[in-house]
């Protein structure tokens, strides 16, 4: 369970999120909203990369303020641009980066890596430099680098952004099959149409909260667009 308790956050004096109170326990949650609505900040509050000015974010009883590193082991974050998330020169080095950081042994790291590479069809490419991968493969690599840490929750920040149509379909299917609880920030409504819950962020507050269809309709209305 991820809880936001009276969370507020500002940057350079300007409020970005104001008094957010939430309990996120559903398996598939969507976060939608316009640019500047605070979505990116929201994502980073969940895994503790940013801590609130007021209030607390609590993940399975762990405070992001006091237990950031442990929270980050539970919550994986897949960033918008894979190019800026892949940190090591080759596929296998990048996959090993996270486990190595937390002190996982070589044998266990290799076991997890082999399983993920096999399962997602990248085994043949494990020795390749990251820049030799296609866009879709890079995105997949960033997901695997998160999965290898065995998180309980995964936050996706605009996952469809850097992908072409074919890659988008494949990645959406991949996301669909994940056993973890997902929190997906997106403006791709098709992606989250079947989700359990959607939250609409507007000017730093939760403007709507409920089934995706309802929330998306509320969003369209707020933009002055008739239901299409």
């Amino acid at each position: 369970m991820i809880e936001f308790r009276g969370v507020s956050r500002s940057f350079s004096g300007a409020p970005v999120l104001v008094d957010i109170n939430l309990a996120l326990g559903e398996r598939r949650i969507a976060i939608i909203g316009g640019n500047g609505s605070g979505k990116s900040t929201f994502a980073r509050l969940i895994n503790g990369l940013i801590v609130p000015d007021d209030g607390e974010v609590v993940v399975d009883g762990l405070s992001t303020r006091k237990d950031g590193p442990r929270v980050r082991r539970k919550v994986g974050l897949v960033f918008q641009n894979p190019e800026h998330q892949i940190v090591m020169p080759t596929v296998e080095e990048d996959l090993a980066f996270g486990p190595r950081n937390i002190g996982l042994g070589a044998a266990e790291t290799e076991a997890r890596m082999a399983q993920l590479l096999e399962g997602y069809g990248l085994a043949a490419k494990r020795h390749l430099p990251a820049h030799a991968l296609s866009g879709g493969e890079k995105k997949l690599l960033t997901l695997l680098s998160v999965l290898i840490m065995q998180p309980d929750y995964i936050v996706f920040d605009e996952p469809m952004n850097s992908l072409d149509l074919a890659a988008r379909c494949r990645f959406a299917a991949t996301m669909d099959a994940l056993p973890q609880a997902l929190i997906t920030i997106t403006h791709d409504f098709d992606l989250v149409a079947g989700y359990d819950r959607a939250l609409l962020l507007e000017n730093g507050r939760i403007a709507a909260d409920g089934p995706p269809a309802t929330v998306i309709a509320a969003y369209r209305e707020s933009l002055g667009l008739a239901a299409l």
Partner: protein
């Protein structure tokens, strides 16, 4: 992407630290020797080491190629200024030094060399040197060279498409800004994957991390 030539000779297996010390000694020796026979003997000795390391002619040529033209120019100049004896000695010194140094590089894998250099920098911990950060920085350089080149080409093409007269030149500024923006996301991505845990462990001086 390395200048390392894989092999299993005694020289390959020797500790990088020892090789660096030996290189330093050879350097001193080269500076001190002043007779042509002595320098020739030293050069022959180094070539013998190349043989022991089972390095190929190609490796040797590669080691010398950066300095061939300089050596030729120096030879010509010295011959004209001082005489053939000094010309020969100058060239022998250059070759001996470059060959000895290249021998170390050719027989030491990149990762071992980096580890040795990081360990040697241990005393700098007082100034804030952190082996984990160093290793990360080294890997980041290798990872991002092709990414930056790609970004540069993309910006350049976009400028050319808009009719810019000197697309390459004008692309430099935007590339730098893009690089600066990239830094924030990268730092977040690194932290999000637990890097601070490793940093703590390495800063504490203990080797808590069994995975290599």
């Amino acid at each position: 992407m390395q200048r390392y030539s894989p092999g299993d000779s005694p020289i390959h297996r020797a500790a990088p630290g020892a090789k660096l010390v030996a290189l330093f000694a050879i350097g001193v020796l080269i500076a001190l020797l002043s007779s042509t026979p002595a320098l020739a003997a030293l050069s022959a000795l180094i070539m013998a080491l190349f043989l022991i390391a089972r390095l190929s002619v190609r490796d040797t040529a590669q080691a010398l190629s950066p300095v061939i033209l300089v050596a030729a120019a120096v030879f010509a100049l010295q011959w004209w200024l001082t005489g053939i004896g000094e010309a020969l000695r100058s060239v022998l010194r250059i070759f001996a030094l470059v060959l000895a140094a290249s021998l170390v590089t050719l027989t030491t894998p990149f990762s071992r060399m980096i580890d040795t250099l990081a360990a040697a920098a241990g005393p700098l911990a007082a100034f804030g040197f952190n082996p984990a950060r160093f290793g990360l920085a080294a890997a980041l350089v290798i990872r991002f060279i092709p990414v930056l080149m790609n970004d540069f080409r993309e910006i350049e093409m976009a400028r050319a498409a808009r009719g810019s007269r000197r697309p390459a030149l004008g692309a430099a500024g935007p590339l730098i800004i893009k690089t600066l923006r990239m830094t924030d996301t990268l730092s977040e991505a690194i932290l999000a994957r637990g890097f601070e845990t490793r940093e703590e462990a390495m800063r504490g001086g203990g080797r808590s991390d069994a995975a290599r």
